[in-house]
């Protein structure tokens, strides 16, 4: 944990810590505290003062059908994004692991979407599927399918899932490829000599040995889908049509800044803080486990 050889100085360590602590207190702890406080207040009918209402904001949220629907939307959205991006990345990584010549070339071409901002990814996919000018929407219509994600909730969900997953493939690919390359080739060759085919080897040897990577990516992808996809939603659907792509993070923004319902938005922030807390604990349990093995 700490070095045995340390320097003796009374003031210096505090001076060194000051910048980080100042930023942390002003921009993390103070706002988080304000969110907790605000979640217990509501403006009075004239909008002049805030009145203490206890847990009323939370009670209201947890019985509000829109909020519960947003939970459900978030669950569907993050499961689909996690499955789609991890599945595609694993498939690509397994293939890239099999080739020897040119794997560096493939890797270079597959990792750069990581650098594309979620909001820009949203613009790209929105352009492809734009009902009036989009290339994919045009050919869908040629084949008799009338695509319009502006009106159709399921299509809107499909589109934000595709854009959000597309951006995350590179990240998952890199970690899966590293995980695959860490599996000793002798184990796989031994199974091959015993006559196990590719799929059998994959499910009985490769996939189980890859499970630490898979579990790690699962947590990272859920966190990504929960919090980092704001830009995708905002550029493609803005939560619509109706509330069909209104994930929790987007609703905090929509209620707080667009709807000016500060009490409710703050209560939602507090609930999200709990979600983050749980995910952090899960991630740490994972890190602990990895240290043991």
């Amino acid at each position: 944990m700490q070095k045995r050889a340390t320097f003796n100085n009374r003031l210096l360590p505090y001076l060194l810590l000051t910048p980080q602590l100042a930023v942390t207190l002003v921009f993390f702890f103070w706002p988080a505290g304000q969110a907790v406080k605000q979640s217990l207040y509501l403006p009075d009918p004239f909008g002049l003062n805030d009145v203490f209402v206890g847990l009323e904001n939370f009670e209201f949220l947890l019985t509000d059908s829109y909020y519960l629907a947003s939970f459900q939307t978030t669950a569907i959205f993050s499961s689909l994004v996690t499955l789609l991006s991890m599945g595609t990345a694993l498939w690509l990584a397994v293939m890239a692991d099999r080739v020897i010549k040119g794997s560096g070339f493939y890797r270079t071409l597959l990792i750069w979407p990581y650098a594309v901002a979620p909001a820009v990814a949203g613009i790209l996919w929105m352009f492809l599927f734009n009902p009036s000018v989009g290339l994919v929407a045009f050919y869908l219509e040629v084949f008799g399918y009338d695509w319009n994600h502006v009106l159709n909730g399921a299509e809107a969900m499909g589109l934000v899932v595709a854009a959000a997953s597309w951006k995350q493939i590179s990240y998952n690919f890199l970690f899966f490829l590293a995980g695959l390359q860490a599996i000793p080739k002798s184990v796989i060759e031994a199974a091959a000599i015993d006559g196990a085919g590719f799929w059998r080897r994959f499910w009985t040897i490769v996939f189980p040995l890859l499970s630490p990577t898979t579990f790690f990516l699962l947590v990272v992808n859920v966190v990504y889908a929960f919090f980092d996809t704001f830009g995708v939603i905002h550029t493609i659907t803005a939560g619509g049509p109706r509330q069909d792509t209104m994930i929790l993070v987007y609703k905090v923004f929509a209620d707080g800044f667009v709807g000016q319902d500060l009490g409710s938005s703050a209560a939602q922030s507090v609930i999200l803080l709990f979600v983050v807390g749980i995910l952090t604990v899960v991630q740490f349990k994972y890190i602990e486990r990895r240290v043991h093995y």
Binding site: A5, T6, Y114, A115, P118
Partner: protein, 285 residues
Amino acid sequence: MAVQKSGMVEKRGIGLWLTHAGLIFGILLVCFPIYIAFVASTVTQPEIVHPPLPLIPGDKFFENYWDALSSGVNAPVWLMLFNSTIMALGITVGKIAISILSAFAIVYFRFPGRMVFFWLIFMTLMLPVEVRIVPTYQVIADFGMLNSHAGLILPLIASATATFLFRQLFLTIPEELAEAARIDGAGPMRFFIDILLPMSRTNIAALFVILFIYGWNQYLWPLLITTDPDMNTIVMGIKQMFPSGDDIADWPVIMATAILAMLPPVAVVIFMQKLFVRGLVESEK
């Protein structure tokens, strides 16, 4: 036979060709949206609004990019690129600077409250700006930092991740070095500048790559605090270029802006691939 005489597992013949074909298909799938955006940034508006869009680039590359850079829609794109550069570099340099200092304090000093401070920093590990937007916005508004570069940068520079990274790194540096420095009469800051900083060079570079991309790609925060188009960053500015109501969007200029918005971070990933992969793996440890 599944096993070849060379001892390799299915790495020749049809299987290998299928693998290459699958990879190329995957790459086409991944690159397709970007390619189409590039094509759209090189054609004329009528070619876009009368679909289908041609599949090969047009000849309006220079016109469209010049239009975007010099005038844009709400603000010239060169200005948005400038704002993004300031924000990304400010976040990157700020995070690295404050994290390396606090990691130095936590590892190399023994002082009252050390563990309390460590946990205070640690607790911010997963508190994204997205979950505390309204109160953080109020803090920045109270400081009068709306529509300013400082307001864009400051709330995003606290990072437990970077502090951890440097802490881990310092713990692997042989203790004899600090001891020797102390015996030679070098003060802590001398040791920090002459020994720790040079030894952290590669890690700083790897972190720089990751944080630059993080800073460049920020969306929600600039969206909230830059109401003045001249302060927009490019990533959040693209969406603002779409007209409200039924007006037709200026697609070639918008798509040129989208391409410009991804150019710097993509260039960083491609040209500094080794550092990028290293930074990515390390920052998730």
